[in-house]
Symmetry: C2
C-alpha cells in the first residue's frame, strides 16, 4: 500500500455533504470502508447504495483507514470531536464554520476539507467545478489532502481557519440570504397570479453578470438611481412588514454605497 | 406596405434598454428610422452605430413610423408623456413600473413592451431567452405587439399594468437586492485576502437551484437550521452595523418562514 496517498476512507456523518463526497470518492477509485451516523436510517441509506459497512457506534469505527472525514452539522461537530479518538490517523472535518482546532482532540494529524458549495439531497453537484479549501496541521498531511482534492477539482485552495470562517459568512449572504430574496420575490409574484418562472431568466442573468463584472459595477435598480417615486410606490405595494423593512434596509445600503 | 405588422420604429430614449432593443430590431429586419434623446451624445452614439437619423427635439420626431417606443428612465417618463403627441400612431413604453395609462395622453393607441431582464451597457443579452410582457388598449394593437414580440422570443406574456408593477417589485428583490448581497459577500471575502472568484460557483448554483426547486425547499444555512451558535459568531465577525442588521433581519425572516 502506498502510504503517500489516500485510498481508504471512513465517513463520520451521512448528510448532504457526506453523500456528495462519498460518491466522488467512489468515482475516483477510492474505497469508503465505513459510514458512521448516529441515525441508523441515515447511515444505512447512504452505505447500502455502495454495499459499504456502516455503524451507529463511534466505538466501532474501523481503525485502519487512511482518512477519516467528519461531515456532520456544525452543531454536532463539537460532540463528535470530544468522543472520537483515532491516535495519529489523519482526520479532517468539512465545516466552513469550525476552525481546524475544533478536532484537535481526535488525532495528532488533523485538517480541513471544505467544499465551498450548497449541497441539496438528490441534486447532483459536479465537484469538478467547485473550490475545495484545505488546511492541515503538518505539511505532510497538507500534501496528502492536496493530492486528494486535485483528483476531484482543479480549484484547490490553501485556506486557513480564519479565512474559511469569513468565506463561510460571505457564503451565507451570497447563497442562503440570496435564496431568501428569491423566496420573497416568489411570494410577491404569486400574489398576482404570475408564475415564478417569469423571473428565472432574470435570476440567472443577475448571477451571471457578477461572473465578469464587479458587484459594485453591476448594481442597478431604483435605489441605485435614487428614484424616490418608485421606491415610495414599492413600499406602498408591500403588504408584509418584514418585506417593507427589508426593502428600506437594502435600499438605504445601496444608496450609501453610491453616496446618493 | 403591410399595415398589419410593424416595420419601422422610432426610439424615444437611448439608454440600456433602448440600445438592446434597437439591436434586436435591426437583427429581425426591421428599421429604426429615428432615435430621440434629450442628450445629444446619447442619441448620436446609439444612432450612428447603424447610420440612423437622430434628434434631441421632441417636435422633430418622425411622424410616419409604425411604432414609437418610449424607453427612458422611470423618472423621465411622465415628462415625455406630457410633451409627446402622435395622434393615433401606436406608442408603447418599456417600463416595468409605470402603468399603461402613464402614456395615454400621447396617442389613441398605446401599449407596453416590457422585457423582463437586467440590461447593462456593453453586455450582450439574448432576447431569445427572456420574457417579453405586453399590454395594449385594443386587441388590434395587442396583436401587432404579440407578432413583434414573438419575432424576438418564444416567451411572450400578456401582463396587465397591476401584474407588471408587482413583477417589477419582485425583480427588485430577485435582481437588484440580490446583487447587493453579492456586494456584501465580496466585501467580507476581500477583508481576509481571498479573491471574490471563490464564491462564483456558489452564486451560480444558488441561482440554478431555483430553476428546478421552489425557493422555500431550496433554503439552507444556519438560520434554516436555527443554529444559534453559528449565527451568534457570525454577528460577532461582522464589523459593519448595516451588515449586522441585515444578517439579523433576514435570519429572523427565514426562521419565521420555517416557524423555528
Amino acid at each position: 500500500m502506498d502510504i503517500n496517498s489516500i485510498h481508504t476512507v471512513v465517513f463520520i456523518g451521512a448528510g448532504n455533504v457526506a453523500s456528495h463526497l462519498f460518491e466522488a470518492f467512489q468515482n475516483t477509485g477510492r474505497t469508503v470502508v465505513q459510514v458512521y451516523s448516529r441515525s441508523e436510517i441515515s447511515a444505512k441509506t447512504l452505505a447500502e447504495k455502495y454495499g459499504t459497512p456502516y455503524t451507529c457506534d463511534l466505538e466501532q469505527i474501523n481503525k485502519n483507514a487512511d482518512l477519516y472525514i467528519i461531515s456532520v452539522s456544525d452543531a454536532a461537530l463539537p460532540l463528535i470531536a470530544q468522543t472520537m479518538k483515532t491516535g495519529d490517523k489523519l482526520v479532517v472535518h468539512t465545516s466552513g464554520f469550525h476552525s481546524m482546532k475544533a478536532i484537535e482532540g481526535v488525532s495528532e494529524n488533523i485538517g480541513v476539507f471544505y467544499p465551498l458549495q450548497t449541497f441539496t439531497k438528490n441534486r447532483a453537484v459536479d465537484l469538478l467545478t467547485i473550490p475545495l479549501c484545505i488546511e492541515a496541521n503538518s505539511n505532510a498531511s497538507l500534501g496528502l489532502l492536496e493530492d486528494l482534492a486535485l483528483s476531484f477539482t482543479p480549484d484547490v485552495r490553501m485556506i486557513n481557519s480564519l479565512q474559511r470562517k469569513k468565506i463561510h459568512l460571505a457564503a451565507v449572504f451570497a447563497c442562503n440570504f440570496t435564496n431568501h430574496l428569491y423566496r420573497v420575490a416568489e411570494e410577491i409574484i404569486s400574489s398576482c397570479d404570475v408564475p415564478f418562472d417569469i423571473l428565472k431568466p432574470l435570476i440567472k442573468e443577475t448571477a451571471n453578470k457578477v461572473m465578469n463584472i464587479h458587484p459594485h459595477d453591476a448594481q442597478t435598480g431604483p435605489a441605485r438611481r435614487n428614484d424616490a417615486a418608485v421606491m415610495e410606490q414599492h413600499l406602498k405595494m408591500l403588504d408584509d412588514d418584514d418585506n417593507k423593512e427589508l426593502y428600506v434596509k437594502i435600499s438605504s445600503m445601496i444608496r450609501k454605497e453610491f453616496e446618493i
